[in-house]
């Protein structure tokens, strides 16, 4: 979750399917004398997850008040992307045993024994360490500290601790994916203020309905894997109701940057429209009960829209800032 590797969209794969409560890493996999291809290392970074991370971080950076030199701004985003990649690699290192038993993740480099497990760990540590150091030296040590914490949060708090133990895993773990815009913002301003915290809170609140929409339709996988995702642990009805609650809360929260005067009407109206649609799509998910062989269309529709929601909302935030800076509506 970022960091930075948020437990989000593509994280479906990650959330995987365990057969034991905790996947204890082994030292290395027996592989032939063949060395890993560079593409295998690239795959460890979860490039699909990284897109949303980079986008939200970039939006946080562009929407922040103040100026940042393009080279420093690029470095900040690069560090956030590297940190996300490092956290993703460490996640796959830890969960290699689990991934091997899942259909969706069995084709990853580690389950296929395309590389040594220790190499994946070392690669993850290298990316994580390098991203933190460069962020600190080139951009800002507060941003570097948050980057380090977000990696720790995703790898240790979420992957190792919460995920196999509590159905609230995705709720608390969602914080990892909420860090990128906060770090992007702080890279510019150098201080934590209300606005970046609100951006953090928006993604935090968005994560449960986004993820549970998916978890509802892959419930059998989680059940088989013994992972205590909310639909399996608390039941489908409870998960649907909770998704609805989070979506209701997301509506005013997404509007709060407008209410406190930190953004203009472009963001405010976009947030109102997007969050209303989000809520309208969550209502049928929240109130219905799946039947046998249910195609789960409302859940799939909500999941697809939730990804679009975040892209457009943060895009509107940047557009709003650009228009304000140009003084078009001044």
């Amino acid at each position: 979750m970022t960091a930075i590797t948020a437990p989000n969209a593509s994280e479906v794969d990650e959330t995987a399917i365990a057969v034991s409560p905790v996947a204890a890493p082994i030292t290395s996999s027996p592989v032939s004398g063949m060395i890993a291809d560079w593409r295998d290392f690239f795959a460890l970074t979860k490039p699909k997850v990284m897109r949303l991370v980079v986008f939200t971080a970039l939006c946080g950076l562009l929407a922040a008040p103040g100026n940042i030199h393009p080279v420093i701004g690029f470095t900040a985003i690069l560090c956030i992307a590297l940190a996300a990649g490092g956290a993703g690699a460490l996640n796959q290192w830890w969960e290699a045993d689990i991934d091997a038993k899942m259909k969706r993740t069995a084709q990853r480099p580690l389950p296929r024994e395309l590389m040594r497990r220790d190499d994946a760990r070392d690669f993850g540590l290298l990316l994580s360490g390098a991203s933190i150091m460069v962020m600190g030296l080139a951009v800002h040590w507060l941003a570097a500290g948050l980057l380090a914490f977000s990696i720790f949060f995703y790898v240790v708090i979420y992957t190792m601790w919460l995920k196999p133990r509590t159905p609230q895993n995705i709720v608390i773990g969602g914080a990892a994916g909420a860090f990128p815009p906060l770090i992007g913002w702080i890279a510019v301003t150098g201080e934590i203020t209300l606005m970046p915290v609100l951006l953090f809170a928006i993604i935090f609140m968005w994560t449960p309905p986004h993820f549970w929409a998916l978890a509802l339709w892959v419930k059998p996988d989680y059940a088989a894997a013994n992972i205590p995702m909310m639909p399996n642990a608390a039941g489908e009805v409870s998960t649907r109701r909770q998704s609805l609650v989070y979506s209701v809360l997301l509506l005013p929260l997404s509007l709060s940057p407008w209410f406190i005067g930190e953004t203009g009407a472009i963001y405010g109206i976009s947030a109102l429209v997007l969050s209303t649609i989000f809520l309208a799509l969550t209502v049928p998910v929240g109130l219905r009960r799946a039947v046998e062989n249910d195609p789960m269309k409302p859940e799939k529709k909500l999941f697809a829209f939730s990804i679009l929601y975040l892209f457009v909302l943060f895009g509107a935030l940047v557009l709003d800032r650009v228009v304000a800076n140009m003084g078009i509506f001044a």
Binding site: S32, G33, M34, I35, A36, D37, W38, V71, I72
Partner: protein
């Protein structure tokens, strides 16, 4: 290792070395640019 596997091994090693070289080159350029920017700010 069969001759085909050895060929594949060499191809992968070459590709990895190339990628590592490009990444290092990229970082050299980046650090140079960062240094110039930071010096310019002072």
């Amino acid at each position: 290792m069969t001759p085909q596997e050895e060929e594949e091994f060499k191809r992968r090693r070459k590709a990895r070395n190339l990628v590592i070289g490009l990444v290092l080159l990229g970082f050299v350029v980046l650090f140079y640019a960062i240094t110039i920017v930071r010096i310019g700010e002072q």
